[in-house]
């Protein structure tokens, strides 16, 4: 397929978690010297859904206005059967009139979702890539999420002016759904095939030159070969240090390259999974602000044992406490506006904001409610705090605090991605959507808080 169909991109944002698994740390834990390389690593309370939500929350203000469809793509979705996109839509405060659906579990799904999207579609793509310890991909494949808002060409910050795809039936990587890790075939055989698919797909005049050339491929061998093959079309750039981020990778690299684009500059992106997808995107005047790369602040390197524990590859003795209870489905449904969208109630009589929502106003006793208040982006401040060494947590010890929101409302929260030593009364925090625990096969998603400046 080669198409002149023009797709407008209104905005995009990436999210790369703050943690890094490094070759140095793996070598250290194996009592070896040296060790090179690093990949991004989702925190213990992150999964592909929360990565995607966090990416979308980094979109520029107003980017989600007018979104009517949400497509969630992941090879590592928290659930099968149950729609993960519903949770994302709720966490992002989108109304129930949005069509939100999961759209595939192949590496190629997210590219396909964007190429097939109509204006007003939010494409979310994320993966948490787990390798068997010692696997070649262990340090090459990282975790990230990306959110792309497809617009029409009139409000686009960038446009995909050309796209060309080839599809091949090729057994080079796959995941048995009963296994947490990806299997792969011998890695040299697909190289020549992918290069010929790429040559064919990118043969059109529209792909002859670009300001930047970006390759997204799961194999380092194929990536290097493809970059050499496209080297004369434009400046080859690698826009992420997260590693290959699975389903999110193509769009994350596109987003990163567009963020660097001056108006009118072009990016050629080639994706090489199960065939080949080549696009040429041209940045508009607002590309520099509409595209938010998944850049990271200061990275944190957990121990290898922690990393293995976070991914369930190492089971540690739990605290001598009862397991966290499963979420009650009826209670979660009743409380969905609070649980997922963090909508506080506001008293119609006196304006007092209650977190969580209350039937009766604490201040004036009224039972009349005004419009709900979305607390997900409200500034908040620590009133008191603790480090709970006895509580159950996915990443003990649990760091907890009582926070006050600027418009009113006080809430006890768990903190994540925060250094306990930096806790103090008065410190500012912001909210983030995370998985607290899983019980009975049900994941408990909650809003936690992060110390401002404490996370990537």
């Amino acid at each position: 397929m080669s198409s002149g169909h023009v797709i407008g991109l209104r905005a995009a944002a990436g999210y790369v978690p703050r943690y890094r698994l490094t070759g140095e740390e793996i070598a250290r834990s194996n009592n070896r010297k040296g060790g090179k390389g690093a990949r991004s690593l989702a925190g213990p309370d992150e999964d592909s859904l929360t990565l995607a939500v966090e990416a979308a929350r980094r979109l520029p203000p107003g980017a989600l206005d007018g979104v009517t469809r949400v497509l969630f793509c992941s090879t590592t979705p928290p659930y099968l059967v149950k729609n993960n996109a519903s949770t994302a839509a709720a966490a992002l405060g989108l109304g129930d009139d949005v069509l939100a659906v999961d759209a595939g579990g192949a590496l190629r799904s997210a590219v396909g979702a964007v190429l097939g999207a109509t204006a007003g579609t939010l494409v979310l793509a994320a993966d948490v890539n787990t390798s068997r310890p010692g696997a070649p991909r262990e340090l090459a494949h990282g975790d990230a999420g990306v959110a792309v808002v497809v617009g029409d060409t009139t409000d686009a910050a960038a446009t995909i002016v050309a796209a060309s795809s080839r599809t091949e039936e090729i057994q080079d990587q796959w995941r048995d759904t009963r296994q947490p890790w990806v299997s792969q075939s011998e890695d040299r055989f697909p190289v020549s095939r992918y290069l010929s698919l790429l040559a064919d797909a990118a043969s059109g005049d529209e792909f002859a030159t670009a300001d930047r050339v970006v390759v997204s491929a799961p194999s380092a061998r194929i990536t290097s070969a493809a970059e050499r093959q496209l080297g004369d079309r434009g400046k080859v750039t690698r826009t992420t240090e997260a590693g290959y981020t699975g389903c999110a990778d193509f769009l994350l690299r596109l987003c990163g390259a567009l963020a660097e684009c001056a108006a009118g500059q072009t990016v050629l992106v080639a994706g090489l999974t199960d065939g080949c997808d080549v696009i040429l995107a041209r940045g508009g005047a607002t590309a520099g602000t509409a595209f938010v790369p998944g850049g990271s602040g200061e990275a944190t390197v957990p121990t290898y044992l922690q990393a293995l524990t976070w991914r369930g590859l190492l089971e540690r003795e739990p605290p001598r406490r009862p397991e966290s209870r499963p979420v009650s489905a009826p209670a979660a449904l009743r409380g969905a506006p609070w649980k997922y969208s963090l909508l506080a109630s506001q008293c119609a009589a006196c304006g007092f904001v209650s977190t969580p929502p209350q039937q009766v106003c604490l201040r004036c006793g009224s039972t009349e409610h005004g419009p709900a208040v979305n607390m997900t982006r409200q500034p908040a401040t620590i009133r008191t705090f603790s480090v709970d060494r006895l509580a159950y947590s996915l990443n003990p010890p649990m760091v907890a605090a009582v926070i006050g929101f600027a418009p009113g409302g006080r809430l006890e929260v768990e903190l994540t991605d925060s250094d306990p030593a930096a806790l103090r009364v008065g410190a500012p925090v912001r909210m983030t959507f995370r998985r607290r625990h899983s019980s009975g096969g049900v994941h408990n998603y909650v809003w936690k808080a992060v110390l401002e400046g404490g996370a990537s």
Binding site: R321, P322, S328, T384, V387, D388, M398, V402
Partner: protein
């Protein structure tokens, strides 16, 4: 509408209390029988003489059957009550108010908790199914919240705060060492408290009360009948319970350096008992020292110290066994542990012993008024109980 209280209308004529501790060889029924029989013996009555029973337990059995089948109550009302960690006090309140109403002549309040069979560390609560949004901090963390907020409110540095908390722990363990019923009977040094392994926030293991099994019971009659049973009854001056509205968890103007429910229940109790200067009128206070910061803020909430002055009074020894107002002279929750349903009655039991001159090595000189303070829940969402007991009926009677 107002609460008039029941000052001097009801008296306790007998009490029983088991040893508190890890009672691996004793079950709930064993402890109930011991406490019930102990209180009956103390009052010189038979269990059959008692007209109605109130059993306080949070998790050691449902309904009045837990008691009636254990001690074999025949054809009498037995009611189980629960108000979290204030459960034992709530049982006493129910029995006392029933007698005060005139409906019955003699009632028993009994509290029990068998915690050590659960196999878990700390207290465990079985909550109803919910949407999973509540942050499930443990009790030590919930009470450790008091410390940073108190420090921030009064500009207290970490070292001074630590000294005050450590003083409380050292004091209560020293008191408990002189009590044969306490779970922990070894004094602890300040160094041991300061270096104890962290549990939550700045609280080490020695800032926390223990987890124990135990039971305690009281038999109550109308005050005018009390001297028929004993020459030294204990008069009930006030029993006040306040269930909080959750303010400190909802209203960002609320202070976390205080437990307002405690202050309210104390104000109610003082009004009903006619106490205007608690620090000087009260001879001993048994307060809910579940964690050391709790006792610190209670000194202010109960009106013993001015706001922001409690830590100084603690460090000055005001609440030591030989201080102006001894607090937890029996060792408190710190030494006894906290068998939930029993704790409130165990506090009253110390007042009982002290008034009767039966407190042995802990005996205070001539105590007249005792206060018990029992707290259920956690700062921000709690029920608070304050009881005032007297050695004598008021002069006006």
């Amino acid at each position: 509408m107002t609460s008039h209280g029941i000052r001097d209308r009801v008296a306790i004529i007998g009490m029983g209390c088991t040893r508190f501790g890890e009672l691996w060889d004793r079950g709930t029924a064993d402890m109930l029988v011991e406490a019930a029989n102990g209180s009956a013996r103390s009052a010189g009555v038979a269990l059959d003489d008692i007209d109605a029973f109130w059993l306080g337990t949070m998790d050691s059995g449902y309904s009045g059957l837990t008691l009636s089948t254990a001690i074999k109550v025949h054809g009498k009302p037995v009611t189980r009550v629960e108000n979290m960690c204030a459960t034992g006090s709530e049982a006493l309140r129910a029995a006392v108010y029933a007698v005060a109403s005139g409906a019955i002549d003699m009632a028993m309040a009994i509290g029990v908790e068998k915690l050590k069979d659960s196999g878990y560390a700390g207290l465990v609560r079985v909550d109803p199914p919910d949407d999973g949004t509540a942050t499930e901090t443990t009790a030590p963390a919930a009470f450790s919240y008091l410390a940073p907020a108190y420090q921030a409110a009064y500009g207290l540095d970490g070292e001074t705060m630590r000294q005050a908390l450590t003083h409380i722990a050292v004091k209560n363990h020293a008191n408990g060492a002189r009590n044969e019923r306490a779970q922990f009977r070894s004094p602890v040094t300040a160094d041991a408290v300061n270096s104890s392994p962290l549990v939550a926030g700045t609280l080490g293991i020695l800032d926390c009360s223990g987890v124990a099994d135990g039971a305690a019971a009281a038999i109550v009659v109308r005050a005018e009948d009390a001297y028929r049973y004993t020459d030294r009854p204990m008069f009930v001056k006030a029993l006040s319970v306040v269930a909080g509205d959750g303010r400190a968890m909802l209203d960002d103007d609320a202070s976390y350096a205080s437990i307002p429910e405690a202050a309210q229940s104390a104000a109610n109790a003082y009004r009903e008992a006619g106490i205007t200067d608690p620090r000087h009128e009260i001879s001993l206070a048994e307060v809910h020292d579940c964690f050391t910061p709790t006792e610190l803020v209670l000194m202010e909430d109960l009106g013993f110290s001015g706001r922001g002055k409690g830590y100084q009074d603690v460090l000055d020894g005001v609440f030591d066994a030989d201080g102006q107002l001894p607090v937890n002279v029996d060792g408190g929750l710190k030494s006894f542990g906290h068998p939930i349903g029993a704790t409130g009655l165990r506090m009253a039991f110390e007042c009982w012993l002290q008034f009767r001159g039966e407190a042995g090595p802990r005996q205070l000189p001539g105590p007249e008024i005792g206060l018990t303070h029992n707290l259920g829940g956690r700062p921000g969402r709690c029920v608070s109980f304050v009881g005032i007991f007297g050695k004598s009926p008021s002069p006006r009677l």
